[in-house]
Amino acid sequence: MSPGGHAGFIIAAYAVVLAVVAALVVWIEADFRAQKRTLAQMEDRRAGAAGERAQP
């Protein structure tokens, strides 16, 4: 490949794609971890409350 005078356009195009794809991956993974953590905390609290009710 000999990019000539247009190397900047080619590099910019690939860089934008890389940045957006990386952002999508990080956002989806971070969102999943946050939801999983919240759900685990809520289920722990529910289990704790159910345990307290079950005690005489």
């Binding site: 490949m1 000999s2 990019p3 000539g4 005078g5 247009h6 190397a7 356009f9 080619i10 910019a12 195009a13 690939y14 934008v16 794609v17 957006v20 794809v21 999508l24 991956v25 989806i28 993974e29 969102d31 999943f32 939801q35 999983k36 919240t38 759900l39 809520m42 289920e43 529910r46």
Partner: protein
């Protein structure tokens, strides 16, 4: 496992947990092969020179921008006809991905257009109809956020999605129906592709890589959305329990 069993959100999450590592691996392998073929094997174009390398990322994103809307249309039918919550989840998870692929098609197209056409942007039918598609994705995302109840939001979004599908054939055939600066179809056309096989193979490998990326991210985002809905249900149950406690 029968297909209908996957429509159960809990089973879907379990299946997603099992298949996602494999999908991530397949996506990485496809991108490695596609980038190698695109950047190091495919020749420069005799007219465009090395700028043709932008085609290998522009075209798959442009295809996906329309494909994702198609996926949302199928999910919209699932919402309106069968009222299935997993169809709602599929619709919601696909919209930001479709917006991202459409954004990338527009940006990479601009960066390809400047050295080839002498301009980043022109209001021709192809570019304008793709910009309209991008705005429609943003509208769908805004509508999901505007309506509190997910099932009501899903029905509104489903109608918007199916009405908006009219734009897909307009995008596809815009280069045939109107005089555009954008070139006519050169891969999916009646007379066969006009691109040389040495560029067509890397293009298809990159298209497979981007499609695998979409499938992987879509399943991951659907899994997250299912968890979000469980949290919402638990919060509603907690609030109802608190109200009962107050009344008692």
């Amino acid at each position: 496992m029968p297909l209908i069993a996957l429509a159960n959100p809990s089973r879907f999450v379990a299946l997603a947990n099992r298949v996602l590592p494999w999908l991530w691996g397949a996506t990485a392998v496809a991108f490695a092969a596609g980038l190698y073929l695109s950047l190091f094997v495919a020749p420069d174009d005799y007219q465009q020179g090395a700028t043709v390398k932008i085609m290998f990322i522009h075209v798959p994103n442009a295809w996906l921008s329309m494909f994702v809307w198609g996926v949302m249309c199928v999910a919209a039918l699932g919402t309106l006809v069968w009222r299935h919550p997993l169809a709602d989840v599929a619709q919601k998870a696909a919209a930001p991905l479709g917006a991202a692929f459409t954004f990338l098609a527009l940006v990479t197209g601009s960066l390809w257009g400047r050295p080839m056409w002498g301009t980043y942007w022109v209001w021709d039918a192809r570019l304008t109809s793709v910009l309209v598609l991008f705005l429609m994705y943003l509208g769908v995302i805004a509508l999901w956020r505007a309506v509190e109840d997910p099932s009501r939001a899903a029905r509104a979004v489903a109608i918007l999605t199916l009405v908006g599908a009219i734009n897909i054939p307009i995008i596809k055939f815009s280069v045939d129906w109107w005089n555009t600066l954008h070139q006519p179809a050169s891969v999916f056309r009646i007379g066969g592709p006009t691109i040389d096989i040495s560029m067509l193979v890397p293009l298809f490998v990159m298209a497979i890589a981007f499609t695998l990326l979409f499938v992987t991210l879509h399943i991951a985002a659907m899994r997250t959305e299912i968890l979000r809905r469980r949290i919402r249900t638990l919060r509603l149950l907690q609030a109802q329990g608190a109200n009962v406690g107050v009344r008692a």
